[in-house]
Every structure is written in structure tokens, then in C-alpha cells.
Symmetry: none
Amino acid sequence: MLKEERHAFILKALETRHKVLTIELSQSLGVSEDTIRRDLKELADAGRVKKVHGGAVSHSLNPFHYKDREIYAHEEKILIAEKAKSLIRPHQVVIMDGGTTNTELARRLPPDLKATIFTNSLPVAVELTDHPSIEIIFMGGRLLKDAQVTVGEEVVATLSGIRADVCILGTRSLDAQMGITEIDWEETKVKRAILHAANESIALVIPEKIGTVQPYIIGEPGELSVLVSTLARRDPRLRPFHEMGIEIL
Amino acid sequence: MLKEERHAFILKALETRHKVLTIELSQSLGVSEDTIRRDLKELADAGRVKKVHGGAVSHSLNPFHYKDREIYAHEEKILIAEKAKSLIRPHQVVIMDGGTTNTELARRLPPDLKATIFTNSLPVAVELTDHPSIEIIFMGGRLLKDAQVTVGEEVVATLSGIRADVCILGTRSLDAQMGITEIDWEETKVKRAILHAANESIALVIPEKIGTVQPYIIGEPGELSVLVSTLARRDPRLRPFHEMGIEIL
DNA sequence: TCGAATCAGGCAATAACCTGCAACCATGCT
DNA sequence: AGCATGGTTGCAGGTTATTGCCTGATTCGA
């Protein structure tokens, strides 16, 4: 068995299976795990696969590979994005935060919409590059690898020089008492700045996040203008927000 | 048994079997393994087969033929990226420009490399988010949709506050007299700033770009530190650069 | 936090490789 | 015929690649 054959086998397996395990490969190819490990290392060094503990996963070569990631509650997020896209009016200046729901919205903006969008989210920016008429301003800073957003004082400073019409917040947790809360301190500071740099604020949120609380507070619930979820307008979970005068969608 | 006959036999065998082993061939053709090895070497030099340890495989088995047509001269760019990745030393501060070759490099950086990378390129940043130990600073600004890089005074301002160890320029055109030149004015300004913000500058360039000129000048050829291409070190096209004291890789 | 799984690096054995050399052969010239 | 030439082949040797095993470190999941 030539090394190249094994490599071809591994790549083939990854095309269909997305993930391979070292121990599986060693059994089906009849070589030691060490050899497989070395194979995976070579393939990883060549950028053909991504090595993970216990095996490897396919490393799709185009820059949109984050699309492959399994998105939690994807269907719901698509629904929310579809609802929300009418909220952005032509020629507005918009700040878009990160998050999968916001990315979904960026992908779904009407092609004829003309607007200026500030964002600190890599995926949102990538999606918007496909849009024909939106002007994109990316706010620089240190990049958080898991959230794929920039943070730090540079982002905050940029935001302090903006007065946007509307911001669209990625919402980790929303509670009628505590408001919008976050788990990451750096992101919190940025989101606060986003909230304060816009006249109106829109939160896109899947129902299960409503009523949960994280350690850091971004803003009072009353600071929200519009809340978009998959819930019916009269759902009791939304009642307190409605009573504060927040528009429910 | 003539050499040509053996070559024909080997190619025929590869058509049907995908791989051949040196030992097998030597037995079925009744010649020494060394002779087969020499045959394979000739066929490989002629590009008819791919030589591997233990024998040879047909070209269709090997990667590049069916993958990634979308990136122009992708193979060459991979080679260049592989060459260049050793140029980034641990704990350096690096500025990475946009371009497909640079993206390729970003994808191929050794996973154990610890470094800080400033970039204004969306694809580069996306690739780097998969890297375990690199700190990424994204330089914000207006996003050019086709090049997927940010431009504008904000980027230039950020760069003016940086003194990096090395910058890696995406190179549209390189000429021994005119130096590095660009076709887009906005990008030109940013690239100038990148060049001036780093102590050393590395240009990754595919051979066909050497000797071409665009309207806007980014820098003198002498401002380059290292030139990475697929050409042999002694290639006449590189001679003028070598004589300027630019390191050729 | 702990135990088990997994990993990285080193080591040795084997196989494959490359280089130089001498033998061989066909050819063409003197 | 005699000889030089160039191409090819096999062999000896020293070098490199590959692999499995081992050990200690790291990482993961409970």
C-alpha cells in the first residue's frame, strides 16, 4: 500500500463523510495508527484536511467554508431573517453585529436595496460582498476566532464616530428584566457601543434565548426598538416587551 | 527489451491500474529495479506519471486536476505559498495583504506558529480563524467587493501606527525598472502604507506577472526584501532582482 | 479533577532510493 | 580491423524514506 494511495483514500472518504477517525482508517487500511497520524499530518500541512483530535475533518478550500458548519436552529434563523429584512429601509446607515442569525439576514437582503452597512463580523462581511449595491464598512480590531468578530478599543472608537439609523444586534440572551446580556466581556463592550451608535435597535432572537441571562449587560430591555423572533405576536413570552413599547415582529 | 517498450508498457499499466510498483515492473519486464527507477524518473520528468516512493501513480489519482478550477494558476500559487511559509518566524508581527496567493499562504501557515498578523483581506482573515495560535488584527475600512480587501484612510491610519517585522504583498505586477505596480488607486494607497509599515517586505508572485507594469506605483523594486516565485533561483527573469540584493526564493 | 484516549518525538529495521562506475553494445569513423 | 563515442544496463555503496513500536506529554470527556 503506497502512501499516496492512503492519502487518496482518506481524501475520498472525507468527500463523503466529512470526518474520519484515525483508528478507523488504520483498521480499514491495515496500517498502524501512527502511520495514519503521519498521513493526516502531511495532508494537514498541505492544507488538504484539517486535523482534529482523533482524526481529521474536510477542509473545504473556498473561503466560504464556514457555511458548511452546522448551524444550530438554522431553519428558525432563516425565518427570522426573512421577517427582519423588511426593516432595513433604502439609504439607511446600518450597523450589523455578528452571529449566525445576522449572517443569515445579510445573505437575504433584497438585491436592490441600497444602504451602507457597518459590521465587525467576518461572515456578515463575506455575505455582503455578494450584494450588488450595499456599501460595506468593516470595523477593524482584534479578531475573535470563534465568534469571528472584531473587538477592542479600535472598534469602539470607530463606533463612537458613527450615528447610524439602526443597528441589528446578535442576541445571545434576552430577558424582560435584565435586557440583553452577553457572556464575553470584550464582545459586550463592542455591543454596547453598537447599541449607542444607532437611533434604533433591532434584536433578532430565537425563542429559546428569551428569558435567559448572561453575566454582562449590554443594555436595558427598554433600549430595544424592535424584536424579531419566530413567536406569534401575542405569545405570552413577548408580552412584557410589548408592554414596554417594543415593536414585535 | 527496448526502453521505449518499457515506457509504453508502464503507461499502459497505469491507465488501467492507477499505480505501479517498482518491484512488480522489474519482475514482469525482466530488468533490474534500477532500470525501472530510471524509466519512472524519465516519465516523471516528462510529466507522464507521478513518481512516489515505491513506484508511480497516474496523474489522475493525484490531486490538482479536478480541484479548484476557480483560482487562476492555483497550483503555482500553492507552491509559492509553501515556499514562503518558512519566511514567517515565530513571534513576528506580520502584515498580510490580500490576493489569492496570500490566502493560500494564510491557509498553509504551520499550526504551531505563534505570530500576530495584521490584514485587510477578508479571505485571509477567514483562513486564519482556523489557525490555533495566530493573533489576528483586522484593519477596518471600506470594503472593496471584488478584491475583498478594505481600503481608505482608516486602513492607512491604522498602518501608520504599526511598525511590523515583515509584510507580505499580494503582487499584481512586478518589473525590474518600475517595481511593484497596481491597477487600482485605492488599493495602491493601502499597499504603499503596508510597504512602509514593515521592516522587511516579501512579494509572492507568479512568474507571468514578472515584467508587467500597471499604472500606479507602489514601491521601487529595491524596497523588496524577498521575492518568492516558482522560478529557479538562477532564472534570467530574476537576475535583475538578485543583483539589487533581493533574496530570491 | 481523573483516567483513558490520543498525540508527538525518538529509535531501529527494513525497503527503496540515488550516485558513480564498469561492462556491454551498437554505431560510425579512421 | 581497430577504436572512440554515446547510450544503456546492472551492481556496489552510502543515503533517505517509511513504518511500527515505544515513552512521555497532552487533550478530552465524564
